[in-house]
Amino acid sequence: MEKNTFDAIVVGTGVSGGWAAKELTEKGLKTLVLDRGPMVKHGDYPTAMKAPWELPYADEPTQEDIARHPKHTRPSFYGITQSTKHWFVDDIDNPYEETKPFDWFRGYHVGGRSLMWGRQSYRFSEMDFEANGKEGVGVDWPIRYSDLAPWYDYVEHFIGVSGSTEHLAQLPDGQFLKPMELNCVEKDFKGKLDDKFKRKLIIGRTANLSEPLKHDKSPQRAQCQYRNLCMRGCPFGAYFSSNSSTLPAAEKTGNMTIVTNAIVYEVIYDNAKGKATGVRVLDAETGHQTEYFARVIFLNASTFGTTHILLNSVSSRFPNGFGNDSGEVGHNIMDHIFGNGARALVEGHEDRYYSGRRPNGFYIPRYRNVGADKRNYLRGFGYQGGASRSDWTRLVNTPAIGDELKQAAEKPGPWWVSMMGFGEMLPNHKNMVTLDRSKKDKYGLPVLNFDAVHRENETLMTKEMISDALEMFTAAGYRDVSSFTMQANVGAGIHEMGTARMGRDPKTSVLNAWNQMHACKNVFITDGSAMASSACQNPSLTYMALTARATSHAVEELKRGNI
């Protein structure tokens, strides 16, 4: 038991778990870090340097790949390729149930989805933290922007976020590395949006190093090489992942013990002490069961990973799941509305081009329900998009063949611009995930069952997301303007959140203003499950800031003897 006892346990090594590991170890806590998958050391990215011709099957999934990944090869996802399929779980071995169709795309390995994430990094704003309370939706956030702002500063400084300063109330600026540039068509569109709509188009804010980091704590991280192969893992360490950034920092302290293939299936609760004392772990390879103990526990297993652990941890004190006095654990699932947008052909600019592959696009910050604008739905959406020249595939359905085809392919094609909306989804108690104890995975653990849908507010917003996109491209004078809608279920945005929400009242929320469990003060949850609302911004940066803030509080409380 002695050797299994630590000051702190962190469950999960993704975006938020890596941050918890770094902060707790740097504050001197002997910390056990658990991940349910295998080790991935920084640099251990098998396809990272492959040229196009070194990948089999034109990088397409084979029929065998599709058979192993029936959910991960749904139309809303592109991760099952020869260059990236090893980062995503096998759906046969990792099943889930769907009362309503749900897209759950995940990777079980050290680093989690921080390895494959989209890297877009935006702060939530004051209006995001106020909206629930003002509108009577869900529960009011127990914090405001000013509570989190210094922690956004802190995490941005460490991870490096490239972006431009814009002075927008709905999208606060941060500690940016220099912005990447827009190309000629993106600049043209930006000018037209400003002229005709007074809307902003900015370069995406991305956790890629457009210049060296402004600190010397991550010598393993170099500047972006503009290969745009981030999802394979970056041997240059040029984008933020736990593997390239926070875990090396935690390791350097000498305070981290990392155990892989460690599936946490239960939090241990001590009735007499009124505290959690540790976690129960199943070895993914041997099935061997182990208990680990600590004074403080951080759950960062990803939104539904953490939810699974909570729902599976039942005791006389918590018959409905750990910390679930409110009955809200597993409820209020949110994602971002995903898969709707438009594209257009842009004539001219034929003598302009670019060099290098920018791992980033443009962003049109939310403008609906901002200031004087009032819609027939709540909240809003932003667009992410980009312009580029069309490649050789444009020639397939043309008469060109033979030498003529080769010569035509040598020239870059016409410019196209495309963008897709990311819309806020409201928290709703009815959007939920439960544990189905009648169905077990190969480890003998009960599986999750999803029951969540987009509702009226989301439907109204989606319509406008499409019509606005068409209107903007048309007003810009572009040709062949058309909209698109992907087949996408809730979850397709891969921004799942909300199932153990923060709030002021223990009767209606799971966590307090410090991401600390109302019902068990030495358990903290700082992954997406903590979110009380989704805003429309990509949420990972907020998880990082919440984690850094919560670890600081946890260590202070430990010192004070309160936990």
């Binding site: 540039e181 972006c224 090489q225 898969g339 392919a409 495309s418």
Partner: protein
């Protein structure tokens, strides 16, 4: 439209965006690897010879390498063996059989000029078929083979580096430069695409 097709729109691959038939789903920004010692597994030698002859007409060896130099026939064989569905396989085999009859005698018994003429005629027939109309099998074979040849070739090392241009590690990004200053001024083998 699916996420993969949307990515293609980001990189302006209009073909993918308007595609119906599942074979068009092969158009993605990545490539074929050719093991030099690999042998065809899906097609018979006779079928393989027809495919090779057509791919050579689609992308011939000129002052730069062509489809045969890039190993395209083997690439097509691998795609049908491992990637395409049974329905896709059947569609292609049916089309191939129809094509082999289309010139009055087996394709390989035609002389070079007759082969080129037939392929060009069927290619024109395929691309002038109105959208949402079934392309007759022989013409369908030519268009499918054109697509697969282009995919295999433009993702191959000769295609990427001698017809298009490819830089493995650009090291920097210039967003807005004259075409003449973008490397050698040719199209990039891998267009920029935003992955979210």
């Amino acid at each position: 439209m699916n996420r993969r097709e949307w990515l293609k729109c980001m990189s302006a691959l209009a073909v993918g965006a308007v595609a119906g038939p599942s074979l068009l789903a092969v158009f993605d920004a990545h490539a074929a690897s050719q093991k030099p010692d690999a042998a065809p597994r899906f097609f018979s030698p006779a079928q393989g010879s027809v495919i090779a002859a057509v791919s050579d007409i689609v992308i011939p060896h000129t002052d730069t390498p062509g489809a045969l130099d890039a190993g395209v026939p083997l690439f097509i064989d691998q795609m049908f063996h491992d990637v395409y569905t049974k329905a896709d396989q059947q569609r292609y085999l049916t089309a191939l059989a129809a094509f082999d009859q289309a010139g009055g005698k087996p394709f390989l018994q035609l002389d070079e000029a007759q082969r080129k003429k037939l392929v060009t005629k069927l290619h024109n027939e395929a691309i002038s078929t109105p959208p949402h109309t079934v392309i007759p099998p022989a013409a369908d074979f030519v268009l499918m083979t054109k697509k697969l040849t282009m995919l295999g070739f433009f993702m191959s090392e000769p295609g990427c580096t001698q017809v298009l241009q490819y830089v493995a590690v650009p090291g920097g990004f210039k967003a807005d430069i004259p075409l003449s200053e973008a490397g050698n001024g040719r199209a990039w083998a891998v267009e920029t695409e935003l992955k979210i």
